[in-house]
Amino acid sequence: MMEEQLAKKLNRQVVGSLVGCVHCGMCDESCHYVLAFPDDHKMTPSYKADQLRKLFKANHDWTGKTFPWWVGADKVPLTDDDLETLKDIAFGTCTNCRRCTLSCPMGVDTATLNRIMRGLLSHVGVMPEGVRVVSKDQWELGNQMGVLKEDYVDTLEWMSEELEEDLGHNEAAIPVEKKGAKVMYCINPREVKYDPRTIKEAALIFWAAGEDWTMPEEGWDNTNFGLFSGDDQLGGVCAKREYEKARELGVDKIVISECGHGFRSTRFEGVNWAAESEPVAMETSVLTMLNYIKQGKIKVDPSKNPEPMTFHDSCNNARSGGFYEEPRELLKLVSMDFREMYPNRAENYCCTGGGGAMSMSEYTPRRLESAKIKAEQIRATGAKVVVTSCHNCVDGLNDLIKHYDLGCEVKQLVNLVAKALVIEEPEKIPEEFKPGDLEVTEVAEKEPLAGRKILVVDDEEDVRAFLTMVFEDAGAEVVTATDGDEAIAMAREHKPDLISLDLSMPGKDGVEAFVELRKNPETEEIPVCVVTGHPEFRQVIYDRPVTPPEGYLGKPVDEDKLVAYAHHIIKHRQERAN
């Protein structure tokens, strides 16, 4: 089966890369895995690409077919161990960042060869569990995180409500499924599930620019696990969903939110996988925001972002997408203290979360070890904020910042543009002043969790104290537990409106406790917001055969975000119950 698949994937460019390698070893030090594991020579890009080259030579090259041992040709792996080894190499030691490609004197595109190897393995069902689950979700539900349509629409409504609260009017509400709009905005499901504020910020920017835009109900996921799994068929299906939706709505262009692989998949590879020549105009939201400023459609105040900032180039946006200067130009317009990291642009190192690495928890220790190259780059800038235009990079960078204790945070350009946005508010004269209204509004804003009971579960005393303080300041009554067993007992006793659950705890951990809570009729309806310092466990908990948690936040937790999440989750649950 693998031979047949390989034959289908061969084209002149791929064959050129397969026959062009002279084993000179020049690609060696371009790879962050090699630099992080200098004694493990199997990390070298040419060795990784040779795994595919062996199969190719054995099946398609005359010398390889006649004298296989002479040129290192090899038959299709026969044992499960062989396949596992190949899986480990193709998925666990390469993020397909393409840095080695630019360092090859022969122009061998090793990243493409590695993706083909991933595709062959995926075809015979050999892939990391995370990749399998995510691919399945994308095939079946139309997005890689299994977000249900009602949850997606609900999140858009929630963000519209927040915008209305912030602006005092509903003119910035997110238009959904608007036919004939000029722009269709596509996002990463991570934004719906973990970071909906980016949707709100984008909506605010579109509104401020006076854009005629919409978000679709279907075909909104700009990500594409076909890029990571090597499955061109999945790649084509995902891309087509967006193109077809854009045609159905009759929009002028698709604007792709800040997602590196989403941009590359939708804008470039997708048209090839879907065999559609330029189906609709597409651009990254970075360019859209930059043009708004240049055209005077929005005004920004860089003093709103005074912290020292550096910029990390997403591999897919930069090396595979040609966008180096535009994000820097935008960043300089909306911030005060930009510091370049070195090397940068085409030679920047991978965040180590690329190529689907964030969904492969089995390789997390190795990934974090390989991240020391990136960590050193960031540390040298002295920046307090690392800006990037990719959601995978956000997760990858957050992980390594915590692991290497860099003491900085990660932001996207949409966060900074929204913060720097200058909104000229029209003067409003209330029709009739009612002192009581103001009081009620202030109380509601100050104590959005008033009357709610929240169970905080965390083994670390300082974290428990912090979460308790935040929830109590928001008006909630808080009860606490220090491990899984206590959490279950407290949940049964207190029937809280929400459980804030840590995952990594001694004794019964958060994952086990979560499953028990969900399976117990007494507690199954209690909404759970996971608050963890281990983002790599995300997939573990979502893989459990129970209803997934209602929220998921990574530590360190932003106070406002925590309260907003809690408020939204409880409100949403109440609306459903009603």
Partner: protein
């Protein structure tokens, strides 16, 4: 015209036959490569300001003459390797020139203005190839990625450079090299070389224009070639 010994004459004939065989195999190899579909990129140019397929292809093709274009050849260690690459390949050109010109116009190579640079190129390449043999056999990384063909090709070239150096010295009448058998042996080794190369990794130069132009066009279309760094 000086009289040619039967041994040399036979070596010359074998050499020319080997050349014809190599040309035929190379033609077949290029036909084989071209038999694969050329994948077309349907996407619109990536970055409106930088995207240019042809510019990317040109940049990529001439990359071999631009050591500053790649990190792997720009860093001090890599630059030294790049210099050794230049010396090695100049030696290859000198060796091929020697094989053909020695039978057609040997007096040209006896001219000191030509002969000594030829010697310098061949000796330089010989030293580099000896270094490369050690590099490939002693460095664990190189051993891991090397096939028998990699070792054999390199050793064969090392012997070829050594014999070429002696042959050039023979043609110039220096260093006590007086036996015509040096030239005969060199031509036979070159003949073997010509027959072996199309089936080995040495034929990489045949693919160079293809691989470089393809990657150059692909990344040029995206706007990421020529490489941008700050």
């Amino acid at each position: 015209m000086p009289e040619v010994s039967p041994a040399l004459h036979t070596a010359e004939v074998v050499h020319w036959i080997a050349l014809v065989v190599m040309a035929i195999v190379y033609t077949l190899k290029i036909r084989w490569l071209l038999s694969f579909t050329l994948a077309k990129d349907r996407s619109a140019p990536g970055n409106p300001i930088q995207s240019d397929k042809k510019r990317g292809a040109r940049y990529s093709f001439f990359n071999v003459a631009m050591p500053w274009s790649m990190e792997s050849t720009r860093k001090p260690k890599g630059f030294i390797f790049y210099l050794s690459f230049v010396i090695f390949h100049l030696g290859v050109v000198a060796g091929i020139t020697l094989a053909f010109v020695s039978t057609i116009a040997p007096d040209f190579l006896r001219n000191q203005a030509v002969g000594y640079p030829m010697l310098a190129f061949l000796i330089g390449a010989l030293l580099v190839s000896i270094y490369r043999v050690f590099r490939r056999t002693l460095r664990p990384l190189m051993r891991l990625i090397s096939t028998p063909d990699d070792y054999f090709s390199l050793v064969m070239l090392t012997i070829w450079f050594a014999l070429g150096t002696c042959t050039q010295a023979y043609l110039m009448g220096i260093w006590g090299m007086t036996s015509e058998m040096l030239l005969v042996a060199y031509l036979y080794l070159t003949s073997f070389f010509l027959l072996y190369v199309p089936f080995s990794k040495i034929s990489h130069y045949l693919y160079y224009p293809f691989t470089r132009i393809y990657i150059g066009r692909a990344l040029g279309q995206r706007g990421s070639y020529p490489v941008v760094r700050g």
